[in-house]
């Protein structure tokens, strides 16, 4: 495409900012903007308009998602940490957490975006470790949970969260590819653990994970391994033998080809993770 003049660019600028120019045209505009400060200012204004329009017109859905999170906030956490003095508890939990995430519904072309739960299917399974591995004493899967009693004051900032062997399975059940963020600031993992001796403390701030996305073909899945019993908000500790209930909420952003990225929040059903190992000193 031949070089564009300022009036040419001005005429196309809004559609360019709206990502509606063909590649050759977009490239010609980009080249012009690189050398023309005046048009670059107008391009910034056009981009800001698109951003404000997104903010304004997507407000109903965004508000609904906020209300959902506020409602979740009111669900009482089952246990509040008041740790006695003692050594840090060492927790080894082996569990398999399967989240099958059906990203259907609003990601299908032609459908309106709807709130998070529509069109999503979630399945959660727990698989105990094989007996042979228990016999060999593989640390991470020797038993669903093992722990020691703490002896000193619990200092959240000085303790590593307990090791855990969980996996989050993201499954594309739609009929087209999906680009899904699996790490970084666009994702958020929230666990909910309850049972006879569960304790939670606010998670200490960690270095954010590098942003990463995957493209899932129809029917494909991506597994996220969780190596510590900690989500993006809390560290979780199991302090007594018994059955523990675990569920997960994973928020991410996903896009189908030709569609804008959408926020997706999926909830797993609760699974029961037995913990029958006596506490070890």
């Amino acid at each position: 495409m031949s070089p564009l003049t300022c009036p040419d660019v001005a005429e196309r600028l809004d559609l360019y900012a709206a990502d509606e120019c063909d590649p050759a045209e977009a490239d010609a505009i980009r080249r012009h903007l690189a050398d023309c400060p005046q048009c670059a200012v107008a391009a910034t204004e056009a981009r800001q308009l698109m951003e404000l329009l997104d903010l304004r017109l997507q407000e109903p859905e965004r508000l609904r998602r906020l209300q959902d999170r506020l409602a979740a906030e009111d669900k009482p956490r089952r246990h509040v940490l008041r740790f006695p003095t003692g050594l840090r508890r060492v927790v080894a939990l082996a569990a398999l957490l399967l989240l099958t995430v059906g990203l259907l519904g609003w990601l299908t072309r032609g459908l309106q975006p709807v709130d998070d739960n529509s069109g999503l299917t979630v399945a959660l399974e727990y698989q105990p470790p094989p007996v042979s591995q228990i016999a060999r004493g593989v640390p991470e899967i020797a038993h669903p949970t093992q722990m020691k009693e703490p002896r000193g004051p619990f200092e959240a900032d000085a303790k590593e969260p307990p090791p855990v062997d969980l996996s989050l399975h993201l499954h594309n059940t739609s009929d087209h590819p999906l680009r899904v963020w699996v790490a970084g600031p666009k994702t958020d993992l929230s666990l909910d653990v309850s049972g006879p001796g569960v304790k939670s403390v606010p998670a200490k701030e960690r270095d954010p994970a590098e942003p990463n996305w995957v493209e899932l073909r129809p029917g494909a899945e991506h597994v996220i391994h969780i190596t510590n019993l900690v989500d993006d908000h809390y560290s979780w500790y199991l302090t007594k033998p018994g059955d523990y209930t675990v569920s997960a909420q994973f928020t991410t952003r996903a896009a189908a080809p030709g569609m804008a990225e959408r926020r997706v929040t999926v909830h797993s059903e609760s699974i029961v993770v037995p913990h029958n190992v006596p506490l070890k000193e």
Binding site: L55, R65, L66, Q67, G258
Partner: protein, 197 residues
């Protein structure tokens, strides 16, 4: 536009913030929801201006309101809810900006990283974005209903012009022309100072 979010210019009777905060402190989540409806848009626009990353504005807005909600539930009573809320938004932005890793770009071609403005600048930013939102609202209300429908399909539903054209059974060029005219009118509204109602 029948299913747009409530406008700030609507004339329904509004309870003042203090009354809603008082009810929040009494444990009424509905009162806080009313505050979220009232402040979501200005907070979102403020965050957008601050971080210049539309893809994370929703997360930061959620974090802002969640922190406010938790504080109110714990009995914190702000003197001025709006200032307090925007203060939380500023903190959320600061936290995000600090966590950003600057090593993800080519050192020879660094992007323009947003930086936290000096303290006190938020009032000015808030007012500027409020003005822009009001201008946008005026502009939207002055558009023909067919054009607003196109904007909804494009910006709310995330459809491309090709998809809109196919759905409405119109030539894609027609859709692009209509949108282009609407964008031009709206952009003129936003860049023309002092003409909002």
């Amino acid at each position: 536009m029948h299913d747009m979010a409530p406008s700030f210019s609507d004339d329904r009777p509004r309870k003042n913030d203090s009354e809603l905060v008082r009810r929040c402190l009494g444990g009424e989540r509905d009162a806080f929801q009313e505050l979220t409806v009232r402040y979501y848009r200005p907070v979102g626009a403020f965050l957008l201006k601050r971080v210049q990353r539309p893809d994370i504005v929703e997360d930061l807005a959620q974090e802002t309101f969640l922190q406010a909600y938790r504080s109110l539930k714990e009995g914190r009573k702000p003197e001025n809810f709006a200032s307090w809320l925007f203060g939380i938004a500023v903190n959320c932005c600061g936290k995000w900006l600090r966590r950003k890793k600057p090593a993800l770009f080519d050192p020879a071609d660094p992007p323009e990283l947003p930086t936290a403005p000096p303290a006190g600048a938020e009032t000015e930013e808030r007012e500027e974005q409020q003005h822009r939102l009001a201008a946008l609202e005026d502009g939207l209300s002055g558009l023909p209903s067919e054009t607003r429908r196109l904007l909804e399909m494009k910006h709310r539903q995330g459809k491309t012009c090709d998809e809109i054209a196919a759905e409405l059974r119109q030539p894609v060029g027609t859709i692009k022309s209509q949108l282009s005219r609407a964008y031009k009118a709206l952009r003129e509204r936003l860049t023309r100072p002092g003409e909002t109602t």
